[in-house]
Amino acid sequence: MVPVIEIERLTKRYGATTAVDQLTFTVQPGTVTGFLGPNGAGKSTTLRMILGLNTPTEGTVTVDGVPFANRPRGLRHVGALLDAQDVHGGRSARAHLSALARGNRIPLGRVDEVLAEVGLGKAAGRRIGGYSLGMKQRLGIAGALLGDPPVLLFDEPLNGLDPEGVLWVRGLFRRLAEEGRTVFVSSHMMAEMEHTADRLVVIGRGRLIADESLAEFSARNAVTSVAVRTPELAALAQVLRAEGASVRRAEPEVGVVTGLPAARIGELALRHGLVLHELTTRTSSLESAFMSLTADSVEYLAGEAR
C-alpha cells in the first residue's frame, strides 16, 4: 500500500539540543500505528512537524505527498488531537468546534454530530474550562473527526480517560483504521499500544529504534525465561550453564534461566539427581521489552545522578 505519512531524515534542533534526529519512517493507511517512546523522546515534536506547526531543521515530512503546511485548509485532510489543553477555556465546546468547522467550510450540523459521537452532547454548551481532562480528550477527538479526514493523529489520547473511555477510544481507532484511514497514535506506555496498534514505530532520544508490526516486535523482543526453585541452586546452575543457558539468581533458592526450555531443565535436573520445588515459564511483557529497548535512550530517569 502507498504510505500516507512519509518522514525522511527529519531533524529538529533547539540550540544544542536535538529533539528529533534523522528520523525516517512511513505510516500506512488501514492500520493503527503506535508511536512509542519515553518522555522527551521527540514524539510530540515529530507530530508537530507533520502538521507544519514546527519547521524541521532538516529533512522532510509529507502527508499524502504534500507538506501539510501547504494545504490552505486542514480538517478534511488530517484530523489531529495534539494536546487536549490546546483550547480556550472560556468557550463552550460547541463554539470551539463551530469556529473550526466554519473556517474549513464544514456544515455546522457536523459539530453536534461529532459531539454526540464522543459523548459530549449534553455538555456542548458548557465552558471547556470546567471540563475534566477526560472530557477535553473527548472534545479533542471530536475536533479531529470534524472534517471526516483520511488521516488522524493523536498524541497521548488515552491520558485522563476512564476505563470505559479507553475501551471506546480503542474501538474508535480500530473502526477508523478498518474504514481505510491512517491512524497514528503516540504513547509512552507500551501497555496502551499492545491492545490498540497493529504496527509500532519506537523512538528514543529522537532516533528510530524500531519500525515493525506488533507481532514482529513481540517475536523479536519478548524474552522467555524459566524460574526454578531448588535448594541446590548452585549445582543446578552449573549444569545449566554447561548446556549454554544463562542463570541469574533472583532469590537464595530461585534462579531465572534463559536459553533453555522448562522441559529440558527438568530433564537435566532429574539426570543429575537435583531436587526441584518449582519450574515456571515466564514470558516478559511487551512493556518490559519496550523498557529494555529504550533504556539507553530515556531522557528523564528517576534517581538519576547529574
Binding site: 508537530r48 486542514g74 490546546d86 463552550s92 469556529a99 474549513n104 483520511p150
Partner: protein, 288 residues
C-alpha cells in the same frame, strides 16, 4: 483531496470534493471565536459607552463656564470656548486607545497562551489567512467603535452647544478631519495591540507594553527643548490623534515643531502598516 485510491472506503460512498477555500470562512471563524468570549467584546463596548459619556459630560459641565465666562485677564485674548478640545477630549481617546489595544492584544496572545493557536493552525495551515482574518475583523470592529464614539461625541456635544451659539458643524474648518482622526486612532491602537500580542505572546507583558507605549512613552518625549525628542513625541499614535483633533480656530497654540495634519495622518498610517506587518509575519514564521 483528489479522488484517488487513498480515499477511505466509507459506508456512505466516496469522499466528497473539498470546497474551495474562501477568506470569508476564516473571517466568520474568527467572528465566532470573538463572539464566544464575552469578556473581549465587553471591553470594547463598555469603553465606547464610557468614552461617549465622558465627552458629553465634559461639555455639559462646561455649559456653566460658557454662561458665566471668567473675567478677561489683561494682556491675554478673551476666553473662547473650543468644542473640539472638550467634546473630543483626550481622556476618552486614551481610554479607547487602551481598550482597543487590549482587545487586539487579547485576540492574539489569547491563542498563544492557551495553546489554541496549535488547534487553529492544524485546522487552517494557511497562517497568513488566519492572521489576515484576525486583523480585518479586529480593525473592522474597532473602526466601527471609533466611528460611533467620535460621531456621537461630536454631534452630541455640539448639539448641546448649539443653544449657546458656540457649536460647530462637520463642515466647519478642521471638523471632519478631527472626527475622522478621533475615530482612526482606535483601530490603529488595536493593530498595535495585536502586534505586541504576536511579539510577546504573553498576557501581562503585552498589556503593560501597550500601556507604556501609548501613555507613558509620550510623557518622555513631551518637552520641546530638543527638536529630535519632540519630533519623536509628535510621531507617537496619541500625539497624532491630538494633532488631528486640534481646532485650527483655537485660541491656544500647538507649541514648537508642531506637525502638519498630513504628517499626522501619515504617522497613523505608518503605525497601522508596521503593526499589521509585524502581526502577520510573526504569526506566519514562528513555531507554535
Amino acid at each position: 483531496m483528489s479522488a484517488t485510491t487513498l480515499s477511505p472506503v466509507r459506508p456512505g460512498g466516496t469522499r466528497p470534493a473539498e470546497p474551495r477555500p474562501r477568506f470569508a470562512d476564516l473571517l466568520a471563524a474568527e467572528w465566532i471565536k470573538l463572539r464566544s468570549l464575552r469578556s473581549t467584546y465587553w471591553v470594547l463596548a463598555l469603553a465606547s459607552l464610557a468614552a461617549i459619556a465622558i465627552n458629553l459630560n465634559a461639555v455639559h459641565t462646561d455649559l456653566t463656564y460658557i454662561d458665566h465666562p471668567p473675567a478677561p485677564i489683561p494682556g491675554f485674548p478673551p476666553y473662547r470656548y473650543d468644542p473640539l478640545h472638550h467634546g473630543l477630549n483626550s481622556i476618552s481617546a486614551a481610554l479607547m486607545a487602551v481598550a482597543a489595544g487590549s482587545l487586539g492584544a487579547i485576540t492574539v496572545f489569547g491563542e498563544y497562551t492557551t495553546g489554541m493557536i496549535r488547534t487553529t493552525f492544524a485546522a487552517v495551515p494557511d497562517r497568513r489567512g488566519v492572521a489576515a482574518a484576525k486583523v480585518v475583523l479586529i480593525a473592522g470592529l474597532t473602526s466601527l467603535a471609533g466611528a460611533v464614539v467620535s460621531a456621537a461625541s461630536f454631534f452630541g456635544s455640539n448639539a448641546m452647544l448649539a443653544s449657546r451659539h458656540v457649536g460647530l458643524s462637520l463642515t466647519d474648518e478642521g471638523c471632519l478631519g478631527a472626527v475622522l482622526g478621533y475615530a482612526a486612532i482606535v483601530p490603529v491602537c488595536a493593530l498595535i495591540g495585536m502586534a505586541l500580542g504576536a511579539l510577546l505572546r504573553h498576557a501581562t507583558a503585552s498589556i503593560v507594553s501597550l500601556v507604556m507605549l501609548l501613555l507613558i512613552v509620550p510623557m518622555m518625549f513631551g518637552g520641546d527643548r530638543y527638536r529630535l525628542l519632540k519630533e519623536i513625541g509628535n510621531h507617537l499614535p496619541l500625539s497624532a490623534e491630538v494633532r488631528l483633533t486640534f481646532n485650527p480656530n483655537s485660541s491656544t497654540t500647538m507649541g514648537k515643531y508642531a506637525p502638519s495634519v498630513l504628517d499626522s495622518w501619515v504617522t497613523l498610517g505608518a503605525w497601522a502598516a508596521v503593526a499589521l506587518t509585524v502581526t502577520v509575519v510573526l504569526m506566519r514564521r514562528r513555531d507554535v
